[in-house]
């Protein structure tokens, strides 16, 4: 597999310009791109974590986990690995 292929397959999973929420610089809101499969995907959808919704990391507990996030005026605590399933857009409109 050459380098172009590898980048291509990576993009298929990640979607262009999307990164997991914990990797996104904090201090501002991000747009949700998608929620990866995981035990909490259905719950996240119910709480409104759907593509296009704004999401923000409010704070991180001592030792890096769990994280407090804000969506639609509500705050939730979730573990870092759950937050990793939330992909957010890093730049510009999709």
């Amino acid at each position: 597999m050459d380098a172009t292929d590898e980048i291509q397959s990576h993009r298929d999973v990640m979607k262009p310009n999307s990164i997991p929420l914990p990797d996104a610089p904090s201090g501002r809101s991000w747009g949700v791109v998608s929620v990866l499969d995981g035990p909490d995907r259905g719950r996240l959808w119910e709480l409104g974590v759907l593509p296009g919704i704004e999401i923000r990391v409010v704070r991180v507990a001592p030792m890096g986990c769990p994280m407090e996030i804000e969506i639609d005026g509500s705050r939730f605590a979730l573990r870092r690995e759950t937050a990793r399933t939330i992909l957010v857009a890093t730049a510009g409109p999709l």
């Binding site: 759907l50 593509p51 001592p62 005026g73 759950t82």
Partner: protein, 646 residues
């Protein structure tokens, strides 16, 4: 009777609303086969009474956790032996109408008649919103929407009459089948498009009602969280708050406990003077009253603990506490949710184990249940006090600290460390597997509703009396019978304490104590301690009063009796020798034994009940007993090596 189900998101003020609607006519029950409790009560109306059922808070009817499944199964009439409700009152937090309406959309799809209580409208107003209930009602196609403030009773009469009105409409008989069809549909809760459609529906309804929610009033909560969830200071404040609760529980409860004990023993001797000497009097004064006393003596601590924890829960701090301790607890395979159960277990493992119901993950819940008895409960304190008192004089110092206090602290820490170690090992072996930590809402801080806090405290205390009280009382009676028969022949003019000692020696309990002596001998225990160990199955503190009887001092926890008991224990020798029973090594073994041993029948009964099988109770009993023996034996030998001797 027509029944109404209260359904709503967690933190929507549902329980306060329930209290307002039903007053004091509440009862708590478990549905067959589920450990999730439900509260039901009566709503009194001029047109007749309605039954109101308060269901566990939920975000959707998909049923993602055991609690949530009870709610959706109840609504669908799928709980065994329970009829589906005739109507639903959906409680919506006026600051978070979107999430509430998401749930309402699913209830509408079920086809059950529904009334919406738009709760906490006062907070929405404070946050600068004026939700228009009639516009929302219109947008929802005529479903009644009543603005309420459960905490002060605003809107409750209007809500009651709306409920009465909607309860008259007939439920379509196809609710359950419609629901089953919906549920087996792959899309329900499994498809982002389906969920997105519901969210879009909610947005359009809010749009039609010209309502643009801005969320709750976060500013003041954020100011508080800046301190309480501060990366470094937050943990310190957490320790101070929890330490404060401990201090309050013990210092406020102590005088109350003394009062309760005095009152019970005064009542007992008063009854004793009315009855003529004989078996009946013995049963009343030696079995019934001490049995009742053994139960109610725990009440002050438990009530105070429930009160303080209830206040903290309702302010919203306990969610923050779980947030702070999640990572540390994760190192031993638990999560922030295990914190309240383990904390409560320092007062008594029974309410602690009952509190594990908030833990959604079954494996994590079982681990928490299995280690809860290792947290030092208050019933161990009298045992520790007597044994530490015999071990060292009050003046003993270790550096600048009193040595007695340090030993006590070491026992608390030792229990907690043993529990952590056991949790870690269980999580890697018997109960290994992926553990799922739920997403927890962080509500805004609120002033607790005193009525809601007090009602919950009363329910929890009643629940403790039912679960633990009956077992403690029953075992107390049984142990009295075992120590009272067969009747001993003693000279009628012998002092009462000598008679009692002779009676115990010859009784079934005394024989059982001598029978197990070879088993406990490696720990340095003689048959008398053996009886004490067996007797403490009623409650650990019974060990002390049993020692009082064994050494013919008579019962009582007055300072004189305690000093006499200590003197008697220090003078005690193994039968037929001059070797003291309570040498340093034996006392060390006794303390370590009580730090771990599951000497508490009510804890074992509650473990069976909450885990749903005797197997887990047997496992708890087995591992704790073996561990207690091993640690006590090792402690004895380390002590022997230090002080010399055999």
């Amino acid at each position: 009777m027509t029944s109404i189900a209260l359904v709503g998101n967690p933190n929507s003020g549902k329980s306060s609303l329930f209290n307002r609607l039903t007053g004091l006519s509440q009862k708590i029950a478990n549905y067959p086969g589920v450990t999730v409790e439900h509260h039901s009560g009566r709503l009194r109306l001029s047109s007749g009474d309605l039954e109101v059922v308060d269901l566990p808070g939920t975000y959707s009817l998909v049923g993602r956790s055991p609690d949530e499944r009870v709610t959706s199964d109840f609504l669908a009439g799928e709980l065994k032996g329970v009829n589906a409700p005739d109507a639903v009152c959906a409680v919506i937090d006026a600051c978070q109408p979107g999430r509430g309406l998401f749930l309402v959309s699913q209830i509408i799809d079920m086809g059950i008649p529904v009334v919406v209580a738009l709760n906490m409208v006062d907070e929405a107003r404070e946050a600068g919103q004026l939700p228009d209930a009639s516009a929302l009602s219109l947008a929802l196609g005529g479903i009644p929407v009543i603005p309420t403030v459960a905490v002060n009773g605003e809107g409750i009469p209007a809500l009651s009459s709306a409920i009465a009105e909607v309860a008259k409409t007939k439920v379509s008989s196809s609710v359950a089948s419609l629901w089953r069809t919906l549920r087996v549909a792959d899309a329900f809760g499994n498809d982002p498009a389906e969920t997105a459609r519901r969210h879009a529906w909610v947005r359009s309804k809010l749009g039609q009602a010209k309502w643009r929610p801005t969320g709750g009033h976060r500013a003041s909560s954020d100011r508080i969280d800046k301190w309480l969830l501060h990366p470094a200071l937050g943990f310190v404040l957490f320790l101070i708050i929890m330490g404060g609760i401990f201090q309050a529980v013990f210092s406020l409860a102590a005088p109350l406990q003394d009062g309760v004990e005095m009152a019970i023993s005064a009542l007992g001797s008063a009854c004793g003077t009315w009855l003529s000497p004989g078996l009946a009097r013995d049963i009343v004064t030696q079995a019934v009253f001490p049995g009742v006393g053994a139960v109610v003596v725990f009440l002050p601590q438990i009530v105070i603990l429930f009160l303080l924890l209830g206040i903290l829960e309702d302010t919203g701090y306990m969610t923050r506490a779980a947030f702070i301790v999640d990572r540390p607890l994760r190192m031993i395979g638990l999560s922030g949710r295990a914190f309240i159960p383990l904390m409560s277990s320092f007062a008594c493992a029974v309410p602690g184990i009952m509190a594990t119901r908030v833990i959604e993950d079954r494996r994590e819940r079982l681990i928490t249940i299995l280690i809860a008895p290792l947290m030092t409960c208050s019933a161990r304190l009298p045992v520790y006090t007597v044994a530490i008192g015999a071990l060292m004089p009050e003046s003993a110092q270790f550096g600048p600290f009193g040595a007695r206090g340090l030993v006590l602290l070491a026992l608390y820490v030792g229990g907690a460390l043993t529990g952590s170690l056991v949790a870690f090992v269980l999580g890697k072996t018997l109960l290994k597997g992926d553990r799922h930590a739920p997403i927890i809402e962080m509500p805004t801080y609120r002033w607790p509703d005193p009525k809601a806090v007090l009602t919950r405290m009363a329910h929890r205390a009643a629940s403790f009396l039912r679960r633990a009280g009956t077992v403690i009382f029953g075992v107390s009676l049984l142990l009295w019978a075992l120590s009272a028969f067969p009747r001993a022949d003693v000279a009628p003019d012998a002092p009462a304490s000598v008679t009692a000692a002779a009676q115990l020696h010859g009784s079934i309990a005394g024989r059982a104590g001598r029978l197990i002596e070879p088993i406990v001998a490696p720990l340095g225990f003689d048959w008398r301690i053996g009886i004490g160990v067996l007797a403490s199955f009623a409650a650990r503190e019974v060990f002390v009063s049993t020692m009082g009887v064994v050494y013919a001092i008579g019962e009582g926890e007055t300072e004189v009796a305690e000093a006499q008991l200590q003197a008697a224990m220090q003078a005690a020798v193994h039968d037929g020798t001059t070797r003291p029973v309570f040498d340093i090594a034996t006392l060390v073994a006794l303390l370590l034994f009580y730090m771990i041993a599951p000497q508490c029948a009510s804890t074992l009964a509650v473990i069976r009940r909450e885990s749903g099988s005797w197997g887990w109770a047997a496992l708890a009993f087995g591992y704790l007993t073996v561990l207690a023996f091993a640690v006590a034996w090792a402690g004895r030998h380390v002590a022997l090596w230090f002080v010399g001797g055999n």
